[in-house]
Amino acid sequence: MPVKVINAGLATTIQDLGRPGYYHLGIPLSGAMDRLAMRAANMLVGNSEDAAGLEAVFMGPELEFTQDALVAVTGADLPPKLDGEPQETWTAFAVRSGQVLSFDFLRSGARAYIAISGGIDTPMSLGSRSTYAIGALGGVDGRGLQAGDMLPLRDGNQVSVGRTVPEKLRRGPGSHVELRVLPGLYWHRITEAAGAGFFDDVWKVAPEADRMGYRFQGGRALTFVDRQAPFSAGSDPSNITDACYPYGSVQVPSGTEPIVLHRDAVSGGGYFMLGTVVSADMDLIGQLQPHTKTRFVKTDMNGALAARRHRAGILEDIRAALA
C-alpha cells in the first residue's frame, strides 16, 4: 500500500495548501511554497487541489512504490526517472507496484512538487498535513521525510496517463527575477534615498533561503529617518515594538539584508518592514535558487490586485486544460 522512502533527498517535506487560522498563535500557514505548482500536480493525477504531496528542494527523493499509482512532478525542472527511465515533468505518468521513482539533477527552479494519485494520507494536524517542522506539526511525526519512512496513500480517482500542463502555463524563474512590492507598513522609517535605492539595486538571493523566509544581499544598506526610539521598541533604528509580520513582508534588520517572509513565517517580531511582496509573486520566490539576481519593483494596490487576477487566470486556464 504505502510508498517507501529509500532516500529522502535534501529537504523533502509533505505539504498541501496549508493550515490557515492559527497565525494569531504563531502557527503559520505552511503548505507548498509554490502553491500553483502543487495544485497543478494534484490536478494532473486526479486529486483534489488541496491533497497532500511532496515538496522536494534542489534534490529529489528516491521512492519505492508498493502499489500502482499515477505520479506528476511540477514546479522546478527536476527530471523524474522511473527505474532509471526519464519521464516528463508537468505530465502524469503511471508507476507500477515495485518501481522506483528517482530524480536527475536540478535544471532550474528550486522546488519540485510530486503528486501521487490519491494523495498522501499521513494524519492531519489542525486541518492540514503540511509539515511545520519548528512546531513539530504535520508531515511524518512533525518532521520532514527520512529514509525508511512509509507514506500511506488514499484511494485515487481514475484519470488517464499522459495528461499534461501546456508549456505556456508553466512558470519557472528566469536568470533575472522581478518581485513586485507594495510599499507600506513601516516604509516611513527609511529615507527617500534609501527607498529609491532599494528598488534600483540588483539583489541576489542569499544562501539563507528557506521555508521561513528568503534573505537577499548585494544592495546598498538602508538609511533611517532619525527618531527618538519609542518606549519598548529597542535602540537599533530598524527596531519596532514587536508586531505582526504579514506573509511576504520585507524586513531589513539593521538596514542591511532584506528578508521576505514565506509560508513558514515567524508571525511577529521586532523589526520594521518596508512593504510586502504581492501575493501573485509569492509562488515565484519558492523557485529561486541562491545567487539568483533579483530586483524589487514598486507597485500599488491596483497593480497588486491586477497581478493577482492574472495569476488566478493562469490557474483557471490550467483547470480548463485538464478538465
Binding site: S249, T276, A304
Partner: protein, 291 residues
C-alpha cells in the same frame, strides 16, 4: 496614541495603535480585534492581535481592501467607546531562575552578548540598578505580567510587566541572535518577557527555565488536552521562583501527566489598575491564592 492604518500587500491590513508599548495600546488592540471577530466580516481569514498593533489577513477576491479598511476604521470608533475591562485568568508559572541549561547555552554565545563577563541575568540586574541578582529576581517575579501577544513561533507568549513605567525592567536583546535556546526558557528583550515554546534561535536574554510545557502538538498534559497552545492574549501571569528540587519534581509530574498550573478566573479593569496599581495587583494575588 495615533492609530495608523497600512496595507501589508494585497492580503493584509496592519494597524499600529501606537509606536510605543502601553497597556492602553494593548487594550485598544484587543478591543478592536474582538470587535472584528464578532463582526464576522466576509473575506477575513486571520485576526492577529499584537502588543500595540494588530493585523488582519483577508482574501481580496471576497472583500476589496479599501472596503475592509473602512470597516476597520468604523470598528475602531466603537472600540474607543468600550470600557477597558477584561474577563480573563491568572496563571502561576514556576520558574527555575539561573538554571544550568540556559547557563550552559548562554556560555556558548558569550561573543554575541553586550557583557561577555557576566551572565544574562547578572547583566540585566546591573543595568536595571539592582544590587543583586536576588533583588532582580524578586522584581521580575514580584508583579504580575500581561500576555500582550502570542507568536513569533508556535505558542510563544510576549509578557508585559504590570508596574508603572519607571519600575519597568528593560534589557536590550543580544547583539546578534543565538542559534539555540532551550525549550521553555524564560527570556527578556526590550520591555517584554517571553517563554520560548520550542527550542530554537532567539535573541532574548535568558533568565531561567519553566518545567511547564506551553505548547505540545501531542497534547500530553491535562491543560493542553483542549488545544495544543496554552496562552492567549489577555492572560495574566505570575512567575513563581522554584529551586532545583521543585523543578525536578514538576518535571516528573509533567512526565506522569499530573502537572497542573494554578489558574484562577479574574476580572481586570484597566481604569482601576491605573488608579491603584499596587492595590489591583494585590487583589489579583488574592484571587490567585484563593481556594
Amino acid at each position: 496614541m495615533t492609530t495608523r492604518y497600512t496595507f501589508g500587500g494585497d492580503e493584509h491590513i496592519f494597524v499600529e495603535i501606537d509606536a510605543e508599548m502601553s497597556l492602553e495600546a494593548f487594550f485598544k488592540s484587543l478591543s478592536i480585534t474582538s470587535a472584528v471577530k464578532q463582526a464576522s466580516i466576509n473575506g477575513v481569514t486571520e485576526i492577529c492581535p499584537a502588543n500595540a498593533s494588530f493585523q488582519i489577513k483577508f482574501n481580496p477576491d471576497r472583500i476589496h481592501p479599501d472596503d475592509l479598511m473602512a470597516e476597520l476604521k468604523r470598528l475602531e470608533e466603537s472600540a474607543n467607546r468600550a470600557e477597558p475591562v477584561l474577563k480573563t485568568r491568572i496563571i502561576e508559572i514556576p520558574v527555575y531562575y539561573q538554571d544550568p541549561w540556559t547557563h550552559e547555552t548562554l556560555m556558548r554565545f558569550r561573543e554575541r552578548h553586550q557583557d561577555p563577563q557576566a551572565s544574562d541575568i547578572e547583566y540585566a540586574a546591573r543595568i536595571n540598578g539592582y544590587d543583586s541578582v536576588d533583588g532582580f529576581i524578586q522584581a521580575h517575579s514580584g508583579a504580575p505580567w500581561f500576555v500582550s501577544m502570542v507568536g513569533f513561533v508556535a505558542g510563544l507568549p510576549f509578557l508585559y510587566q504590570m508596574v508603572d513605567r519607571k519600575r519597568q525592567i528593560q534589557v536590550p536583546k543580544y547583539l546578534r541572535p543565538r542559534t539555540d535556546t532551550p525549550k521553555q526558557t524564560v527570556g527578556y528583550g526590550g520591555s517584554f518577557s517571553c517563554i520560548y515554546s520550542v527550542r530554537g534561535a532567539g535573541g532574548y536574554q535568558m533568565f531561567g527555565i519553566t518545567p511547564m510545557p506551553i505548547y505540545d502538538p501531542k497534547q500530553r498534559v491535562s491543560y493542553l488536552k483542549d488545544f495544543m497552545v496554552f496562552f492567549k492574549p489577555g492572560d495574566i501571569v505570575k512567575w513563581k521562583p522554584i529551586n532545583r528540587d521543585e523543578y525536578e519534581q514538576a518535571l516528573e509530574d509533567v512526565e506522569k501527566g499530573h502537572f497542573a498550573p494554578r489558574i484562577r478566573n479574574v476580572d481586570f479593569s484597566l481604569d482601576a489598575f491605573n488608579a491603584d496599581i499596587d492595590g489591583t495587583n494585590a487583589k489579583l494575588m488574592e484571587a490567585l491564592h484563593a481556594g
